[in-house]
């Protein structure tokens, strides 16, 4: 039995591969198989490979790209798709456990499909450590599948550290108090080579651009350390933090949800604590 896995070099892909192994011997299609990126073409390649090899299932990481290509594959093949699974068991029907509400709820579901299509929620399954699977031979695709393709790339205007790739993020919430209040957040971020993040309350107030927003409808982050300053920790914000290795919460309210879900906490006024941390870093240099 062969299972097809859509892969790139990310950990999320190796996590998807680990789950895919339950469905057979994996063969991979590279996310870079079509350059520049053309999602319909990738879906066409996956569909053809799945048919040619009579694949038992097709699996990808539940990243933006992974979900997008798999949705196109599902539409093309006229099959259901279970997005953001954290587990799956082969069978008739396949049983899946998938994330909803940005991961704050889990859904157990039956996937009635002759060929289960699934994406795997990042950071929920241990990454596969085995050898990379053999790559499927890619055949040319039809012109009609290249109508939707990347024709240009715009680099970020701020030139700062990208949130999605940052090793450290210093993030501010409503507790920062104002647009100007972010000066101390930016100062600490600068000392740490960190990206600046924020909660939805902050973007709604117009203090920071939406590109800084962390959470379910903002950027999902995976830093070594996430420093949350004055963020209460609504479930939609926590949904963006699942990949964070360590969370430090600074808040005057010790009962704030983020204080209860952090690894480290400092209780008190962030307007005193954040500059004190910056001063301590300078002192030690």
């Amino acid at each position: 039995m062969t299972v097809i896995v859509l892969m790139d070099s990310s950990d999320a892909s190796k996590q998807a591969l680990a789950l895919a192994r339950k469905f057979g011997e994996p063969q991979s299609v590279s996310m870079d198989a079509v350059q520049p990126f053309a999602p319909d073409a990738l879906a066409a390649i996956l569909a053809r490979a799945a048919d040619d090899m009579n694949a038992s299932a097709v699996v990808a990481a539940g990243t933006e790209r992974g979900n997008e290509v798999m949705a196109r594959l599902a539409a093309r093949m006229g099959l259901p798709l279970a997005a953001n699974c954290i587990d799956a068991e082969p069978g008739d029907p396949t049983t899946v456990m998938r994330q909803r509400w940005g991961g704050s709820l889990l859904e157990e579901a039956r996937l009635h499909s002759p060929r289960p299509l699934m994406t795997v929620a990042p950071h929920t399954v241990a990454a596969d450590s085995g050898p990379p699977p053999a790559e499927v031979e890619v055949k040319p695709v039809a012109e009609t599948d290249l109508v939707v393709r990347v024709v240009d790339h715009v680099s970020p205007s701020n030139g700062g550290v990208s949130l999605a790739e940052a090793k450290v993020i210093v993030s501010g919430g409503r507790g920062v108090g104002s647009k100007e209040g972010f000066t101390i957040i930016e100062e600490l971020a600068g000392l740490l080579g960190a990206a600046v993040g924020c909660s939805r309350a902050v973007t709604s107030a117009g203090w920071r651009p939406h590109t800084d927003q962390v959470g379910q409808t903002g950027t999902k982050v995976a830093p070594e350390v996430y420093i949350a300053c004055g963020i209460s920790g609504a479930t939609q914000h926590m949904a963006g933090l699942k990949g964070a290795k360590r969370i430090l919460a600074i808040n005057s309210d010790p009962q704030a949800p983020l204080m209860l879900n952090a690894d480290y906490t400092v209780t008190g006024d962030l307007k005193e604590i954040v500059p004190a941390i910056s001063a301590e870093i300078r002192k030690r240099r």
Partner: protein
Amino acid sequence: MLTDDARAINTQHLGFTISPHEECGVEEAVRLIEANKGESVVLTLGPPEAVEQLRDAMALGIDRAIHLKTDRQEWDAESTAAALIEAIRADETSSGPFDLIFFGNESADSAGFQVGIRVAYALARPCVAGLKKVTLQGSSVRCEQEVDGGRDVYVVPLPAVLTVKEGLNLPRYPSVPGKMRARSKPMAESMPTRPVPRLELVKLAVPAGQGRRAESLGAGSAAAPAVVEMLQKAGVL
């Protein structure tokens, strides 16, 4: 809080709102029509209460609404798409084709990441997903999709289907006159039959905690040395 059968959230004491991605889709449609003239229509599949969100969208400037009513049972993404496809085809037959159809990139609740894309495939129109900026350029549309390290640009011909994300624009608040006007705008209703879902919900559960156990590094500015030591131990300083 879940319902007793664990198949839904108990919403008895909750309010509803348009999801953030879709709200930006509504705003973008209103802006495009303001700038280019024409007509905008809002379409949803949802329980009788969803009429409130349709009125909200019309208060922002959408011209008319189509409500595909459910009996509060959940519809999976495939069935939802099928009902929307049928409704869009019927509307286009009577009122002419849409140049653009906007969807939220993924729903806040079920997060299937697929309804807009399924509709696009069925209508044989190009679909660009996950957009943060949309610009009309004559008979095509330029789209910016946020990716790690910037934005990828796509240009596709109209008619097209676009799935959008929060951050596309800053949605306006409804005005009082807007709300008044919304009351008299046309609202079409139908009640499609729910197919047997192929992604069949068995039950919902609240996940176990992530196992983080907060360690206090102290209170106030006196905690700064302990914070710096933690950062050093984490290898980021």
